[in-house]
Symmetry: C2
Subunit: 470 residues, 2 copies
């Protein structure tokens, strides 16, 4: 329980109306989009500016109260679950676009801005902010930065990290620092900007960001390639890239996912094929035409049973929306949806998908797989029921094997979702004891009392590495 | 002086032939490309593999001997001067290209590979490694990573950091860790990859790197725009970018630089104009044609007195080579050449160049300015003589004012050269006490006995901020 004097001091900083310590108010922020994790915070506060954030951090430091910064809570790694109680920090008041600089091609924003609002805002000016996580309609930029979110355009355009030029951040001691700037190049000291991106609120609290924009591509085309053979789809991906075409989007959906998505979106997706690739190219018209034609040929050569181009932009948009809705569609099947994002080198996609299917059979689970094939970033997903403990154990064992396999193939346990609490026990498999030690040293140095989002990234105990036997 | 037992143990690790403690041998590594900094190391060693690096680090830890990892020493920030003595680590044996992976578009290299060798190696396979520091003929990839080197193609393609996907590094305690992988996306824990890039050998010793490659642009065109008015050149830069054209290269040379470069390269550069822009675009042929035409029009609209296109690739190559030779050309003028790289937001280029000229007049110095205009990354350069103490004091005061002005304009004290010893006293101007404290905490956590390249990045005493009066 929180000391009453803490609440009073907190109210003095942000105003009474911006502190909620009621049970109902706290319950709302006791979980995020990750199934199976819930923990009550002791209070919720919504600061109005950076100075207030700094004062709150100093107050929490004084009382040793954990702080969990939270955007819209759409993360899938239990990154914003207040696992050790404490204070949830909301950015609903710090949600302004501060500056769109067309000469330097930058936008300066507060963390509470909704990703899609930012994207639409810059597109009106003929500019482009590529990172587009599937949750972009509700996710915030602050959340995207903390998780280093990816999206469908990552293959060609990179992820959130590649668009963060500078940050304002509050450190665990209340210091307010600025990193980077409206600068294409800056090597003045360590790259705190990129260290903080993806650090899940465990190293600092981000209060402002300068983001890089690029010119908006002049045109875009969308195509669908259908396969009766998973391997053929994977071969198409490798073949496209090794022919040096980098499409804007190169998404994969397997048959179980296709069926569920079509049932949800009803846009006429084929459900009688084993896999589809959703491929987009953008850029100057001539180039897009050329690349799409080349990719259609490649897919047919690699045994696609059919390739078709979206005839209109609304048809293309329907396909993209359907793909983005995969999680929502799958979530309708059963009470609990476990979605992962094991990632492998692109050349290992086929091996990884086969391994996922074998693991699914071994544990008698219906694993639906979709994801960013061009990035090697797959989302094996299990619709299940958290109340069925026996099944949940099988799910957990299956994912442990999937992680182990991804690492064996030169991959990682998470491509874009983050570690949070969810994957903390597996982090050592990827990094080794030595890698964990280096990261813990940084955490300890920047947040010695461990008040910034404690319980995330680092597990109290690491999982023993399973021996993958098949 | 070094303990004799240390040398013996060192010899046992790397072999007698790979340790040099002679005065002549040490003298060679007592300085780098930065004028005015020299300090004798106690020994020089050339490990043959990562295990040997790890053993050396453990040995140095035992004896508390500083280690200075060094590539070709082309850095301009006194980043590899053994300021506190100790051991210089050479990578002449660790200079292999380990793997070119065409399916994943990656190359895996040891740190001692020469930048240009790597570039040529991948170009033979139709692939492209964009970072191209002017020193690339002799610089090493390890050095580029430690300094986060830029180059002429940074505007469109980014800097070294943007191409490092994974690292193998030896920590201060001898631990060998691996970060990232052949992965487009990886958010498993903190981004140590990017933290180490640009950390100047102060956080770890890099022993292997996985670098990202991209398809090589199909064609390239080069043009030159001549100006009788500095401001018109700067306006052209802004106008090109705000019309959403991102050229591959957008370089600026002022008249004093032009004269010196022409005298050196003798390729018929105009020396009767106040400034030139060297502009290149690459990509598909149609697009390059279109962009070059648009940029020619823009430059003429912004009062270029003439624009001309390189007629042949050899003419274009001569122009690029001339630009790259600017430092060598300037270095012939006087015994000492001080070259800086204050960087500002692109929109402030014109203000910055004017300020540099005013500062030059104030301190009665002949400052030649050239650089990456598209990045806002300028290289004001003063040919001087280190033995002329009175002039050197004026040079130092002038650069202090240049740094202060860059920061005032939203810029930074170094865009691509790094901090090293040279700019350490000024780092606080950019970062504030709080930013320095955060970086020092990280350094202290990862290298508690301060044996990794000590004396770099952090100054014993920061410079007082001058009040810029004009």
């Amino acid at each position: 329980m929180m000391d009453h004097s803490f609440i009073e001091k907190l109210q003095a900083i942000v105003g009474k109306e911006n502190v909620d310590a009621t049970k109902a108010g706290r319950l709302v922020y006791s979980y995020d989009a990750t199934p199976g994790f819930q923990s009550m915070p002791d209070a919720v506060a919504a600061p109005r500016n950076t100075r207030e954030v700094s004062e709150i951090v100093q107050l929490c430091q004084e009382y040793k109260i954990p702080i969990v910064p939270r955007g819209s809570g759409t993360n899938l790694c239990a990154g914003t679950t207040p696992s050790e109680g404490g204070l949830v920090l909301l950015f609903k008041h710090m949600n302004k676009i501060l500056d769109l600089d067309k000469e330097n091609l930058t936008i300066t924003v507060q963390p509470g801005v909704i990703t899609q609002d930012l994207i639409q805002h810059v597109e009106k000016e003929g500019l482009f902010y590529p990172p587009d996580p599937s949750s972009m309609k509700i996710s915030t930029i602050g959340g995207n930065i903390n998780e280093n979110s990816g999206g469908l355009r990552g293959l060609k355009y990179g992820v959130t990290r590649d668009y963060v030029l500078g940050l304002e951040a509050v450190m665990a001691n209340g210091d307010i620092i600025r990193t980077g700037g409206k600068l294409a190049k800056d090597v003045a000291g360590y790259d705190l900007t990129r260290l903080f991106v993806g650090s899940e609120g465990t190293l600092s609290i981000i209060t402002e960001a300068i983001l890089k924009l690029i010119p908006i591509p002049q045109s875009k085309k969308t195509m669908l390639a259908l396969y009766q053979d998973m391997e053929a789809a994977a071969r198409s991906v490798s073949s496209i890239i090794s022919k040096q075409i980098i499409p804007a989007t190169l998404e994969f959906l397997d048959q179980p996912t296709l069926k569920v998505v079509e049932d949800f979106a009803k846009i006429g997706l084929p459900t009688d094929v084993k896999a589809v690739l959703l491929i987009e190219q953008d850029g100057p018209e001539e180039l897009v035409e050329r690349d799409i034609k080349l990719m259609m040929d490649i897919c047919l050569q690699e045994d696609a049973v059919s390739v078709e181009m979206a005839k209109t932009e609304s048809e293309a948009e329907a396909l993209r929306t359907a793909r983005r809705s995969a999680l929502s569609a799958l979530a309708r099947l059963k009470p609990t949806t476990i979605l992962e994002d094991a990632t492998v080198p692109r050349s290992q996609i086929s091996n990884m998908v086969m391994a996922i299917n074998e693991i699914g059979e071994k544990y008698k689970l219906n694993i639906c797989t979709f994801g960013h094939a061009g990035d090697g970033n797959l989302h094996p997903t299990v619709p299940t029921d958290a109340r069925n403990h026996e099944e949940m154990e099988r799910v957990e064992s299956a994912f442990a094997e999937i992680f182990a396999k991804a690492i064996e193939l030169g991959g990682t346990i998470t491509g874009e979702h983050g570690v949070g609490m969810m994957k903390a026990p597996y982090l050592e498999w990827k990094l080794g004891k030595e890698g964990i030690a280096a990261m813990k040293a940084i955490k300890g140095a920047l947040d010695p009392s461990n008040i910034l989002n404690p319980g995330k990234v680092f597990a109290k105990e690491s999982r023993k590495r399973v021996v993958v036997s098949r």
